[in-house]
Point group: C2
Chain length 292, copies 2
């Protein structure tokens, strides 16, 4: 059974004529006859009344209903790729918690305005987890810290963050080794790249990684820091955005530790759906504006 045959069947049912159906689908009447006949032989049922007015039989009518479902799905699938201007379908984005909270909202807003028909899904997690999702094809693209070593992936430097030390009391210089040793460190769950920076920071101060508490959400973490539970390391933009909600204070870190780049990573552009391609466009625009 071919889609072409079904399209002809539907056309015959609608026009009431083999010739008109042929004209509508830019072919000749003899081909319509052949296709319908082949369908009838394949199913062992007469689909069209030929005597008198041409119209579908009960069996033909039943098949037309299924044919319409198939053709609708087909046309939708084609428009998913060939649809001009307006992308549709689904876009699955993976991003770190901080990126989602601080950087994505304006970009997603712009994207949704441009492509209202795309269903956006966001999964948050630490870099290692996101890379895994991307490799498994469970997301279409990710925002992660650092470029993917893996070849055959499209990478774009999206955001540059400055990490700061976050504590519950005002700081003018780095806390002493003693203070660091007796304090806890709060970080996202295993795999988060920020956590590595914490360990780097501690090492630079000649302190071994002590107790590190793991959190799943930014709010919980900042709340605990404000409560004096310990320190954490976060992008200054993220902290600024939450500073008024929590009583927290920051300290700038040495550039080598503070600088962290967030990359947009996706498979090769040839594999992109129009929805993803359009998102990459939106992102590029946003990045250019941010960094002139």
């Amino acid at each position: 059974m071919q889609l072409k045959s079904l399209r002809l069947l539907v056309a015959v049912a609608e026009t009431g004529s083999f010739g008109a159906a042929a004209k509508r689908l830019h072919t000749v009447q003899s081909n319509v006859t052949t296709h319908i006949k082949k369908l009838e032989e394949e199913l062992g049922v007469q689909l069209i009344h030929r005597a008198g007015r041409v119209r579908p039989t009960s069996a033909g009518l039943a098949l037309v209903e299924y044919a319409e479902r198939m053709l609708t799905a087909h046309d939708e699938a084609v428009s998913l790729f060939k649809g001009q201007e307006k992308a549709c379908g689904r876009l699955r984005i993976g991003a770190m918690e901080t990126t989602t909270a601080l950087r994505l909202p304006p970009i997603l807003a712009a994207y949704h305005a441009a492509q209202p028909d795309v269903d956006i899904q966001i999964k948050t997690g630490p870099t290692a987890e996101l890379v895994e999702l991307l490799l498994n094809g469970q997301v279409d693209c990710v925002f992660v810290a650092g470029q993917l070593e893996h070849g055959r992936y499209h990478s774009l430097k999206a955001f540059s963050e400055q990490l700061v030390l976050v504590g519950s009391t005002p700081m003018t210089k780095m806390p002493s080794s003693q203070a660091l040793l007796t304090s806890a460190f709060l970080a996202f769950r295993q795999g988060c790249s920020y956590r590595q920076r914490i360990e780097l920071l501690l090492a630079s101060q000649g302190v071994n990684a002590g107790r590190i508490f793991e959190f799943g959400s930014l709010d919980a973490m900042l709340g605990c820091v404000a409560a004096g539970m310990g320190y954490t390391v976060l992008p200054c933009g993220t902290v600024d955005a939450h500073q008024h909600r929590f009583g927290i204070h920051t300290l700038e870190l040495p550039t080598s530790i503070a600088n962290i780049d967030t990359y947009f990573v996706a498979p090769e552009p040839e594999t992109w759906t129009p929805a993803l391609a359009s998102f990459a466009d939106t992102l590029r625009d946003a990045v250019v504006v941010d960094e002139p």
Copy 2:
């Protein structure tokens, strides 16, 4: 885009290998490559990651979802005609009110027991209306009074009814012309064949058709007869079934007027869906049992 190609795409996505997909669909690996490639060219997108593990790209995954919808519809359509033993789909029956009430219930029950997956739809109306529905393809088959003059239709004598005169008082002989003239006659709406019999009856008694009230439902009509509003003419089986609910009485009519045959009419058997074919079987069985 061909269904065959989509089936291969789904197989590749599921098996993770061109060769395995080929084996599953009983073809060779080179054909899988060709079909996938053709799909990719047609849509202008890479659908399958070939490097390393073979797995669908974002675009491929999106297409697989549509492909599954199309293939499901296709397989359902095929099973509608080729499904062994169990018919499915829809069966639209047209029947007269009296037939629906008196004759169809046991047949529909038997049919539903045999074909539980068929969705049964019944439209009631007078013969003329039902014939129109059948000619327009709005029902799959009808039960009507008298054979269809139209050729190319399958006809089967289904039931034989004996019409009786129905009134509110006991009758031993035909009411006088005077009584008939002063009484109203109750009948189904225009086009019902029973109505013609009423006029035939009146003519045989030398009375012109007087007032005839039209009803849309059997219950309303019998209720009015019981209330002494007038006479009507109905199959004796129908009256028997309702006699205990209404205080009504009957009188046998001359054979020439009383006998009325109900025929099962449908288009040619070649055009039947399995659901309809199975219904015709059920009906034949029921008729044979009724009339040995």
